[in-house]
Point group: C2
Chain length 427, copies 2
């Protein structure tokens, strides 16, 4: 692959003509492809169908504590569902509250509770002039959407290969009482695929916040979402916080949305006993209890952590080829061109593509015109503002292999075109 | 039955000795019975089991609009789920948002949104000094729990046989800008079993609120919950509001919690297009979408309104005998004694017992000591304060017929004892 950054103006113009011809060719095909969201494919979902058969008899509708799952109650979920979700998060069942079909809702509700009622007797955020959140970037757009909705000021924190810039995190958290939280996806971060190092996890657990109501919002969304036959463990943040004398410092979240069904799974939160008691004060006003039938259905099918891991290996047979296809096409078309860098993740749902500065919006626009929907440029940043206009989140999970191949190829053409345009600006 | 209120002191003392002996007899039996909550019985839930079989094949997992229900999206629910829930509420599908497993959560979230963000650009309630709600009493304890949690001042509104005292409602709503809402259960009210008259519904639709963000919180929880083979219609509040030029005045709620599974059903909200747009602004931040598999499962099983009504007739074969048993025992033991009045509802989940003033707490305590759990006295009132200490909510739906017979008999003994004690205070 030729390095665009080393080309002369004439060489760039010549290459541009070629790339534009290719682009026009794709555009004329009138395709409709989507690499925008981390959605499971139908093939992947087909592999989850036996879950729906796992609970249909009235003789098998009682939880281990004798509770009839078809009736009201158990606001924090079934004991065996706590065990299962605790196993996914590598924490203890007594730390777990089971919720509805989506961890996003638990996160929203957790922020909403702090906004309306405060945390453990602290001033409700709605009564404060200023509330701030730290946002490692690139990050998950829906996290930032929640904090923006509640008028929370968001501060970008750069991501390194082993997690967020902890020097900066420690500084903000220890010095500014308005800083009330930080969004983290500690394993296979969205979209960078970063796995936090043990040291980073421990530095999180040892934070000394100025604000009593500061919490780490630990979205363990991809806790078991491996693309390869390996297990990558990170320390249990809840245990690390307890060891550090910071038991109440973290709220952890997870769901089976990308294990069973996206929207038809179960979700959970894990935290200290004191935090659980604090949450239950209002949670018991919001709901009599989550859908326990779906909880038991999941438990009956997966049984335990091992069952989950075996199932994830099956799902990986759908996901891995998709990721490898995208990486292969990027390697063939972009590697060495200077037009961008990208990661080859070991898990999670995304590839983060770092385009040449000032090119991301143009690439997404070009792709859209050619029939390929990408996540909006800027989406992985608070206020949709990527300071470098560089990061594009690629979601390979949803399209068929055939569609994905075309979409990825079109994407590389758009990357090339935007890069050449950018380089020509300065020639 | 002798009338206690006409007895002499000696007669009362003699009767008291008899009743006390009977009470001791029951107490010595060491029973554990529960008439406290409106929970379906296991027998009733067994009749719903085929619902769990209604959706298990991957060939039948797409909604009418082609949407794969196993995947993310459709924040307001499946088109066919909107149709089904609209039919239950007698409104149009386009007015409906489908939500998770419980209408209580939708109601809580609706109040929470108004508290944090306001309604259609109005000042968020958290920024106001005072927010008030009108609470027809006796009413549903969990409604009052939600408003109390958000620090909303609650004002009792007396219930008549045809609904709340509308003169008082109209006065408060038109004169006080701090009055932002009223809780209503328009059909088979909880616990009184009252069905709002057409006139009351129309007076609601024609309210002229001083506050722009005043809404009627219309909890149509028992819309199709008939005990007898009859259909009792009330006017569609949404249409009535539109006719009155008050399109945005009402939020309506319902669920299948007492149609399919309590906690494993689906829920919905119905309101105007403008209200829906306003709600979606934040709802789309809270969730990517509700559990659509469970929506389709319900649609596949029930099909339409007629399917719902036929199913409710089956459930009524469990509920009706329980209600009739309780009424029979009350008729035998209490009628004519002056110790209390009660209704014989045509639907819903409760019987409201009106004890002699000052006796409700004592009755509930006596029952508890004898092993019968009743809803706490005061529960059907804001702040758990029944000004007359008179109303007790009886929930006959959950116990077996055998348990219910004992519980109801024990209840009548407790009523008698408390009444005699009260009468003797003034002798």
């Amino acid at each position: 692959m030729q390095d665009y950054t080393k080309m002369s103006k004439d060489e760039l113009l010549e290459e541009k003509a070629k790339v534009e011809a290719k682009y026009k060719e794709y555009k004329d095909m009138g395709l409709k492809l989507d690499m925008s969201r981390g959605k499971p494919s139908s093939d992947q979902l087909d592999k989850c169908m036996p879950i729906l058969d796992a609970l249909t008899s009235k003789d098998d509708i009682h939880a281990s504590n004798g509770f009839d799952t078809r009736n009201y109650g158990l606001v924090d979920g079934l004991p065996e569902a706590k065990e299962l979700m605790a196993a996914i998060m590598d924490t203890k069942p007594e730390n777990v509250i089971i919720s509805g079909n989506a961890s996003l809702s638990i996160m929203y509700d957790t922020i909403a509770r702090a906004h309306s009622f405060g945390i453990m007797g602290s001033t409700p955020w709605c009564k404060l002039d200023k509330v701030k959140f730290l946002c490692p970037v690139p990050g998950y757009d829906r996290h930032f959407g929640v904090t923006e909705t509640f008028g929370i000021e968001m501060i970008n924190i750069p991501m390194n290969d082993d997690g967020p810039d902890m020097d900066l995190v420690e500084k903000y958290v220890s010095e500014d009482e308005a800083v009330k939280g930080i969004w983290c996806v500690p394993k296979f971060s969205n979209p960078g695929g970063v796995v936090y190092s043990d040291e980073v996890v421990r530095r999180f657990a040892n934070l000394k916040p100025k604000a009593k109501d500061f919490r780490i919002y630990w979205d363990n969304a991809y806790a078991v979402h491996y693309l390869y036959d390996e297990v990558i463990d990170i320390p249990d943040i809840i245990e690390e916080c307890a060891k550090a004398g910071n038991s109440n410092l973290v709220y952890e979240f997870c769901s089976t949305s990308k294990i069973s069904f996206a929207g038809g799974g179960i979700s959970a939160m894990a935290t200290s006993q004191e935090n659980i008691e604090d949450i239950k004060k209002t949670l018991t006003k919001q709901t009599i209890g989550p859908d326990k039938i779906n909880q038991l259905r999941h438990v009956r099918y997966f049984k335990d952590k091992n069952g989950i891991l075996e199932h994830m290996k099956v799902l990986a047979t759908e996901l891995r080829p998709r990721f490898e296809l995208v990486i292969k096409i990027l390697d063939e078309e972009i590697k060495g061109s200077g037009a961008g860098t990208y990661n080859a993740p070991r898990g999670g749902y995304f590839v983060a593509f770092n385009a040449m500065e000032g090119c991301a919006n143009r690439i997404v626009d070009l792709a859209k015109e050619a029939g390929v929907v990408l996540t909006g440029a800027g989406a992985p940043f608070p206020y949709h503002k990527d300071p470098k206009d560089s990061v594009i989140r690629i979601a390979p999970s949803y399209p068929s292999m055939k569609d994905l191949e075309e979409a990825a190829k079109i994407f590389t053409v758009c990357v090339k075109l935007a890069t050449i345009e950018k380089l020509l600006e300065n020639k």
